[in-house]
Amino acid sequence: MGFWNTMLAVDRRWIFLLVFLSLLIPMFLGVTFKLSISPEVQTLYDTLEQLPNGSTVLMTFDYDPPSAPELQPMADAAVKYAFKRDFKLIIMGLWPQGPLQAEISVREAMKDPEIQARNLEYGVDYVNLGFQAGNEFVIQRMGTDFREAFPRDIRGTDYSEVPLLKNTKNFSNVDFVFNFSAGYPGTVEWVQIAVDRFGVKLGAGNTAVQAPLAYPYLGAGQLVGLLGGMRGGAEFERLTGFKAKATTFMLSQTFAHAIVIVFVILGNIAYFVTRKKEQ
């Protein structure tokens, strides 16, 4: 009975330690799961595959560093994929720190030897428009004219002086919009304004907390596809062939979950055993 009493009043730092270990150890195991691909990830990938090489793609980074563990793996894979397909990439953010996260993805992609060999040039092959305050109103303004919402890119160059943007006036010149979102403003706003009012083709990557809010839009066809949380990222990595962090981390995540579940079960057993004893 001593054991159960101890369990009941266990110092929470033991729980912390076990959670930490259950996340840490699988990283050294090097085991990966063969993931089944969810339909919403598959349709997103298929839509991207159908875009002709050289299409113009707008990626909007609506998250900040704290949410990066969930969203950065998919963003990395998406940027790499875009560069390999010679997409003309326009980057922006409705969160102040979003465009900086995009810079990280671009830097990561440039490490890939095959992408390096393409000698991609800023302003010609990709451009970062930076952040603009105003939440959904920014999307609204972009509907008429991108330049109205983003007079300058993140490096301070005038919109009109960026070669890539010469022929990009508004959403009608963009073939696909890829949104990475951790909350407001994010996927919901992009659907309500860019899709519903301006008819863009939109795919999204969401944190696991946000994803359920976006599901109704999938059913209605307002979203072509959705990557939800780290698992969505892992599936997307598998499809694009850029297996990276999300894939290796799925095991850690499952372990940590198991630990929490075991703890909840033990806690309840302890509770009942000790209560019976008191009676």
Partner: protein
């Protein structure tokens, strides 16, 4: 007068922002966006009040050599460093390669990401404590939480994946709970919130709830 004029402003502005929703005609159509911009401008001025307050309290702590005054020095120095880097950077203060960007990447980012990440520990310890079948209500909380948790990871793949194709009982149960009983509770909460906000907003607009304006002098 010091109280009346603000009350009048609140009333007029409050009513105007309620009716703008129903009036597509200008100038009402521009109210919402205009307020969004104005609010950002007022907040950007007000932040100086906060920052000066933080500096004042830190400097007092250092001057009086209060407990842990050394850390107040760290606050002042890091605030000055970041602020100067930001202001000196001009309009393009966030451009990759600037001092501000370096501080952001290597100091701000790991700090905020780690602070967010320790939620994982807290979620574990809180669920250990809260998910316990103490009574009927707590049991409902436990069962719902437990089932949804099980349906969210690879357990379906591990337990059943090799036996049957597309057999995901845990995910199905989890989805059912999310889509129906959970949705019902959310709706009750949301409709309640709508009523609460309507009532609070009315009290504010009518000047019945006015404590935010402080006293008469």
């Amino acid at each position: 007068m010091r109280r009346e004029i603000p009350l009048i402003i609140t009333f007029v502005v409050g009513v105007a922002f309620v009716i703008q929703y129903f009036i597509p005609h200008s100038p009402f159509d521009r109210f919402e966006q205009l307020f969004s911009d104005w609010f950002f401008i007022i907040a950007a001025c007000a932040i100086w009040l906060g920052a000066l307050n933080l500096m004042k309290l830190s400097l007092i702590k250092i001057q009086k050599r209060r407990k842990d005054w050394q850390y107040a020095v760290v606050i002042v120095v890091s605030w000055l460093t970041m602020a100067i880097a930001g202001f000196a950077g001009g309009r393009d203060f966030q451009t990759p390669g600037t001092a501000f960007d370096w501080l952001y990447q290597y100091i701000y980012t790991p700090l905020s990401a780690t602070m967010f990440a320790i939620l994982a520990f807290f979620v574990a310890s809180a669920s250990y404590r809260a998910f316990r079948a103490r009574n009927l209500q707590a049991s409902l909380l436990l069962v719902a939480g437990f089932l949804v948790m099980m349906g969210r990871v690879l357990f379906d793949d591990i337990l059943f994946g090799r036996l049957f194709e597309n057999f995901q009982p845990l995910a199905d149960v989890s989805n059912f709970i999310m889509n129906y009983p959970n949705m019902a509770g959310q709706r009750a909460i949301m409709i309640g919130i709508a009523l609460g906000i309507v009532s609070t907003a009315l009290r504010i607009i009518l000047g019945i709830e006015r404590s935010y304006l402080g006293g008469g002098d």
